[in-house]
Symmetry: C2
Subunit: 309 residues, 2 copies
């Protein structure tokens, strides 16, 4: 039952791409995006691919001192009640920043003059489309053609994800610890996968990126104990020969095999969102195989209550 409810959320991702609310971006000198966990990922993906202005991510209670009237401050909280994001929002508003709120309701919707209201009833992490599209559209980064292509491709993944299930089986059988390496523009997506392994499958996982990992992880990959306990993913376009050479050389020198995951489609939107969605399904199938309910976030909810005591 829980699985059916979650599948309903998963297949809604493609519909979310049609969400067309935008906000005014004129006059901003820099952009600060506040968001935690599943809500923060939208900002992280945007930060990786938009670089016309400095984009600074906040995932804490405080904001940087440079925030002023020329800062575009975007607070993203699916529930609208994330205490870190609300704290950051208040501080930025006091400094006179241009304020944007993307939320389904809660205190954030009440505090914001013109909030971008997204539909309620989903897990925050299942609402990534609603949270990222206002960013991409407001900055002219997703046209109708791209949205159409991405819609079709996500639909195909929804209809056919047996390959993702096979991968999940490999992870489950060996009780593996997933490690996800992302190559630009999939570094934030690698982190998204890590969080999906945590929340959907209830499994510890971590992410890093090429070429950074060649300066640290590489030494452990060759020599660490318990190496066979890990399962290594590499999210890459395989379109950059220099990066391909790097990945291959890392595999050879450290004696490690990476499970290569390729993006689908032509446009950047399709490629990024398909890479996200492949991870959604691997982690969803893994939850099933481990007999975990992907919708269950009891400990996160318990923690929020305890902090209010």
């Amino acid at each position: 039952m829980a699985n059916e409810a979650y599948v309903k959320e998963l297949v809604s991702l493609k519909e979310q791409l049609k969400f067309d609310r935008v906000f005014d971006v004129a006059g901003a000198k820099n952009i600060v995006i506040a968001g935690m966990g599943g809500s923060g990922i939208a900002g992280m993906i945007f930060q990786e691919i938009y670089s016309e202005l400095p984009v600074y991510m906040v995932n804490d209670y405080h904001i940087p001192n440079f925030v002023d009237k020329e800062t575009l401050f975007v607070a993203i909280s699916y529930s609208g009640n994330t205490e870190e994001t609300l704290s950051a929002y208040d501080k930025a508003a006091e400094k006179g920043a241009k304020m944007v709120a993307i939320t389904s309701g809660g205190a954030l919707a009440s505090e914001s003059k013109e909030p971008i209201i997204i539909p309620q009833g989903l897990q925050p992490r299942a609402a990534l489309g609603y949270m990222i599209m206002p960013l991409l559209k407001s900055f002219g980064m997703a046209g109708n053609d791209e949205i159409g292509e991405a819609y079709d491709i996500l639909g195909k993944i929804d209809a056919q994800n047996e390959g993702e299930k096979l991968i999940a089986e490999e992870v489950a059988m060996g009780k593996k610890i997933p490690v996800i390496y992302g190559v630009y523009p999939y570094k934030a997506v690698a982190y998204r996968w890590k969080t999906q392994f945590n929340e959907n499958s209830k499994v510890i996982a971590y992410s890093s990126s090429f070429p950074e990992l060649n300066h640290n992880d590489t030494m452990a990959l060759k020599n660490t104990y318990k190496k066979s306990d890990f399962y290594f993913f590499c999210l890459s376009d395989n379109r950059d020969s220099r990066m391909d050479k790097r990945i291959k050389a890392t595999e050879e020198i450290t004696g490690t095999m990476f499970r290569q995951i390729g993006a689908r489609g032509k446009s950047r939107l399709s490629r990024i969102m398909s890479m996200v969605h492949i991870g959604d399904y691997i982690t969803f199938h893994l939850a099933g195989l481990l007999d975990k309910d992907p919708l269950n976030v009891t400990e996160i909810e318990e923690l929020k209550l305890k902090l209010k005591e």
Copy 2:
């Protein structure tokens, strides 16, 4: 022998704090710092604590589009031959950014008009003091009193690190996978520890931060398989009651014990550098216990050669 050579590098950290070369920071609208691995950490720590201007980290070949004449571009490469950093440097120079290079030599020293030259002969990760002090001093973030305090405190850790050895023994005995959680202002330091576990001890490790991990890792902490394979560190000041409550609640709700690591000293410089140095010693002792040479970075070197083929 290798150990003696490495200890020599470790105990030089306090001396590095006296390095007093600075660069001109006037007129910058934003700051971009390029650096990989051990050289990038200096930028990451700076980014976490300096927020008067947007600080953007580059750990790849490309630079953000916003880089222009009003950007202060700081390239940090201990060797001066890191190909990603050199690529980013060239691109920023073409765009007319204000260029700063912090390096011990190599191509970066040749390309830069007035490089900040730091002493050669260390492992890059052992030269953190040389790489971070020009940033802190140029922005007026480290006075002589603070440097004096930090010098004394690092010296005490050099003289007495039996407690760090005991922790390393616990990790080694259980063949644990270290997980390091950082609380502001120690989020970048947590990443530094991760990289030191990788490079010194040749062990896979990962880092994350509070409160972000309460939105993802928390679900895995309670339910994951192989939980006893991990060793959880928490780098915290224990001075922020809200954050303390959060850490404690996370331990209780997920049934996890964090090894709390406290910083030493009064000034921010002492506290951050002591937190770094405690990790240096734990990972150094762990290398010894695992019979690994902390100075050995064979695979990283092999990779660099292979990429040049």
